[in-house]
């Protein structure tokens, strides 16, 4: 019982010094979290705040007074009285060297922004630290798997920096465990089961690996179809139209064409997650076969376009006829699983009040 009560205690507030400023933090926070909250721009490539801190890229190292070597701020907890410097000349030089090393192992720094949500992180840091110096030439790392025939995910590992964000998001967020890391050292590569194609693995093509990749090694193949289309990429916040969860998405458009979808990292229902449908199945929006007007099957047996008022009157008359002939329980209402609570409520109310039947259901129950 005592232990249970202790859990209810408010978290302890502690003090530390960050770049000379006294700051407060909550016991359990990492140095990176404290620094980020205080708007210090600590660079990182392997960090994704939704995932367990990993400590691979070492760009987030900071100086801690009394500790000989810099520490990785993402994996080191802040402690009472700690004195931290996030940006000294020495630390910034190490960061630049690290970025120069990463540039030297990759095929390219710049990738199209349609590759994925985080795809510009690497290029942005390289530019900020002026790390395109051409130093440290040598073998390139990564074994590309661009022949993987799946229609959604580009696997261009010549641009992979082995941050393992894809592996970790697949395990920690999606729970698929479809990908992992093979070999070691400079020869590490990201693989699906037995180094085969994604579709022979547990992958559900949710695309979260694509969206967390900081270099565009993993790319959104569908969005990249429009890489050469004219125009700026515009993001419009919306809600995924598929199921009732209500995942927030950013629709990517060029001109008046929707070219891709990205999950909203701040979406309250999804926090950056989507499923294969919300992520990749948006082609229907601008498909030429999509109905743009209601259709009525007239006496000739063919479907004919009409206006909404006529269509609604026609449907109402049809329901009326059925009820008069077979009784009120001859009509059955099914709410779509894609409908939110409010719409489902309205549907059942409508069925009960207008038709007088309790025969209602929801397709999600099937």
């Amino acid at each position: 019982m005592t232990e249970f009560r202790e859990d209810l205690n408010p978290p302890k507030v502690c003090n530390m010094t960050l770049d000379g400023d006294p700051v407060e933090f909550t016991e359990g926070e990492t140095i990176y979290e404290v620094a980020d909250r205080h708007r210090r721009e600590v660079p990182t490539l392997c960090y994704d705040k939704r995932l367990e801190a990993f400590g691979a890229c070492r760009l987030c190292v900071v100086e801690v007074e009394g500790v000989r070597n810099p520490v990785a701020s993402c994996t080191t907890k802040a402690t009472e009285g700690m004195v931290v410097k996030t940006r000294t000349e020495v630390i910034e030089k190490h960061r630049k060297t690290l970025l120069e090393l990463v540039v030297s192992e990759n095929k390219s720094v710049d990738v199209d922004e349609l590759s994925g949500y985080a795809s510009q992180e690497f290029a942005n840091l390289v530019n900020k630290y002026r790390a395109r110096t051409g130093r440290f030439t040598g073998k390139k790392s990564g074994t590309s798997n661009t022949q993987d025939k799946n229609p959604f995910i580009l696997r261009d590992y010549d641009n992979c920096i082995s941050c393992y964000r894809c592996v970790r998001v697949c395990a920690e967020q999606e729970g698929d465990y479809a990908i992992n890391v093979m070999n070691r050292g400079f020869h590490t590569q990201i693989i699906a089961e037995f180094n085969k194609d994604l579709r022979d693995s547990n992958c559900t093509f949710c695309g979260q690996c694509v969206q967390t990749c900081p270099t565009g090694a993993l790319g959104d193949k569908k969005a990249l179809r429009d890489a050469d289309t004219e125009g700026e990429v515009k993001k419009t916040r919306s809600i995924c139209p598929y199921c009732g969860v209500g995942c927030s998405v950013d629709l990517l458009s060029k001109g008046d064409k929707i070219v891709g979808v990205q999950p909203a990292m701040d979406g309250p229902a999804n926090e950056g997650a989507l499923c294969v449908k919300g992520q990749f199945a948006f082609d229907f929006i601008q498909n030429a076969d999509r109905l743009s007007k209601p259709l009525i099957r007239r006496e000739d047996g063919e479907l004919h376009e009409c206006e909404w008022d006529e269509a609604l009157d026609f449907a109402a008359a049809g329901f009326q006829k059925v009820r008069d002939k077979f009784g009120r329980h001859s009509i059955y209402g099914i709410a779509s699983g894609r409908a939110p609570h409010e719409a489902a409520y309205t549907m059942q109310k409508y069925m009960r009040a207008s038709f007088g039947t309790n025969y209602i259901d929801n397709c999600s129950r099937a």
Partner: protein, 557 residues
């Protein structure tokens, strides 16, 4: 006899602690490689996702994934074996499917070749033959020894011989006349510190484990002796295995741990058999298992064999490997003393450390401290190899002169040669040369010179050797063994290797020096574990002692 099925193999191990490695080895032994079918069966039984298990299997150098697999020869191309013709031997065995392997811990002998579970040594295809681990020669300086004090007694490797020559007196003394606290106190007073290289005080480690909450606690003997040029732990385990086992049992008594593992490197298959037999004999005589000596102590000990990964000598990687996970090092803190095997308090100790313990408990802390010279407490095993008359293992008092060890104990350089350089800590300490060969063997003397004693491997290179080539071999090793988790080590070891073999590297001296220094300094400052921090010691000391050889190398390219 029909081959065991996947199911039979898995059922044999699945209820033991840390089952993944023994299951993989049993399947690897059965087929000579790990098939997709075997891995799928293990994945299902142990509930490890296939992608993760496949990644883990591919991490280890010695797990084959296709025929002929482990029946094909693996030839040591470590630094010392290359001096002796390792690469030529490899070429001569190519028709039999031979592949290279990194230093396999037999630098005091001819070139080792592992075929299946047999280790042969020789200098050519025709001379390969089996030979046991050389016995350390009697102490050339006449110093009193600790670890090697009884190792040369006939029959010492058997339980009967061990007990006849004083073995298990320390455990009896501890369990009947001491408390766990007083054992820890005695070890603390002895100043015994981690002999695997890190030098953490053993008493303090045990106390932290004893005081930490959580059960079952665990004792892990780090027998992954992967540092090139180190072969001392193999000598202890082959000739005095019960000393290490008794040391572990004392650690179990002191910390309250009922569970223990010996994590043994792949390259010591004969040692595995020796340890398994020793554990079985000890268990049958009531010296391991439940109710040890009839006094209520419980300690169950298991051998787990690695599969070829230097990084698994790093304790976080070792624990991940035992737990069946991808053997990346762990982020610290927390440390193993509170969150070790299965996140329970765990003492990870080196073989030499543990083998010292029974002697210390029997003879007292003061005796042990007094074995060192001056203020330096205790002794250290040194594995000496390379261009020296009498390579082998020597037990030296801390503070002992390197020159005396090289020239008097080990007979000095080969005829007509002079010693150009030695390595420290196997390879991790880089080189010492010139006036810095006049050091005493203790970190107080060595550390200010940018190196450290570490696990005690010392390789000797005479004046006929090209030091850039030696440094290249060393860096190639670190690149081969880098786990691939942290950027500075993963890319840095590769780039420095390229700078030492002339490929893809600047050839102008100042540019070369700046690049190598910048990479090295960033690796030392930001790497996640000791591998990446230590590797640049090789190039730092190369540039310090042999600037003219670096210049010549660049001019000749």
């Amino acid at each position: 006899m029909a081959k065991a099925t996947n199911k039979e193999i898995i059922e044999r191990w699945i209820d033991e602690p840390a089952p993944l490695l023994p299951i993989l080895h049993a399947l690897h032994n059965r087929d000579a490689y790990l098939s997709e079918e075997s891995i799928t069966a293990v994945s299902e039984a142990l509930k490890i996702p296939i992608a993760e298990l496949w990644g883990t299997v591919t991490f280890y150098h010695h797990f084959s994934r296709e025929a002929p697999g482990k029946t094909a020869p693996r030839v040591c191309t470590g630094n010392i074996c290359c001096l002796n013709g390792g690469k030529e031997l490899l070429d001569s065995l190519k028709s039999e499917g031979a592949t290279p392997m990194p230093c396999s811990g037999r630098c005091d002998d001819m070139i080792p070749v592992i075929i299946d579970d047999k280790v042969l040594v020789g200098t050519s295809k025709e001379t390969l033959k089996h030979r046991g681990t050389p016995m350390p020669v009697p102490n050339p300086g006449g110093f009193e020894e600790c670890v090697f004090a009884s190792i040369r007694e006939p029959g010492r490797a058997t339980l009967e011989g061990y007990q006849r020559t004083g073995g298990y007196a320390a455990l009896r003394k501890a369990v009947t006349t001491m408390t766990p606290e007083s054992v820890i106190e005695e070890i603390s007073k002895s100043k015994l510190a981690g002999r695997g290289g890190a030098g953490f005080p053993t008493g303090m480690k045990w106390k932290a484990v004893a005081d930490a909450p959580g059960n079952p606690k665990c004792i892990v003997c780090n027998a992954d002796e992967g540092e090139p040029g180190c072969f001392k732990d193999r000598a202890i385990m082959d000739h005095d295995p019960f000393a290490m086992i008794e040391g572990m049992t004392l650690a179990a008594f002191a910390t309250g741990a009922p569970l223990g593992f010996i994590y043994l490197r792949y390259e010591y298959p004969e040692t595995e058999a020796i340890l398994e037999n020793a554990i079985e004999d000890a268990r049958a005589s009531g010296l391991l298992g439940e109710n040890i000596l009839g006094l209520g102590l419980t300690f169950n000990l298991y051998v787990r064999r690695g599969a070829g990964a230097y990084i698994c000598g790093e304790e976080g990687s070792l624990l991940n490997s035992l737990e069946g996970k991808h053997p990346f090092p762990r982020n610290k803190p927390p440390f193993p003393v509170t969150h070790g095997f299965n996140d329970k308090p765990t003492a990870v100790n080196n073989v030499e450390t543990l083998a010292s313990v029974p002697h210390i408990i029997e003879n007292g802390a003061e005796w042990y401290r007094g074995l060192g010279l001056g203020d330096h407490p205790g002794t250290k095993l040194i594995s000496l190899s390379g261009d020296i008359q009498r390579p082998g293992n020597y037990e030296i008092p801390f503070g002992f002169s390197l020159q005396t060890l090289l020239n008097e104990w080990a007979g000095g350089p080969k005829d007509g040669r002079t010693i150009q350089a030695v390595t420290m800590a196997g390879l991790s300490g880089g080189f010492l040369a010139g006036d810095d060969l006049d050091v005493t063997l203790d970190d107080a003397c060595i550390k200010p010179r940018g190196s450290f004693l570490g696990a005690g491997g010392i390789m000797v290179f005479d004046d006929s050797r090209d030091m850039v080539e030696i440094a290249h071999g060393a860096m190639e090793f670190f690149a081969h063994e880098s786990c691939g988790k942290c950027f500075p080590c993963r890319i840095g070891t590769q780039r420095i290797t390229e700078r030492l073999d002339g490929s893809d590297s600047p050839l102008e001296l100042n540019e070369w020096l700046t690049e190598v220094r910048d990479i090295g300094s960033t690796m030392k400052a930001t790497s996640a574990c000791g591998l990446g921090m230590a590797a640049p010691n090789v190039t730092d000391s190369l540039m310090k002692y042999f600037p003219e050889q670096v210049e010549t190398y660049l001019t000749d390219k």
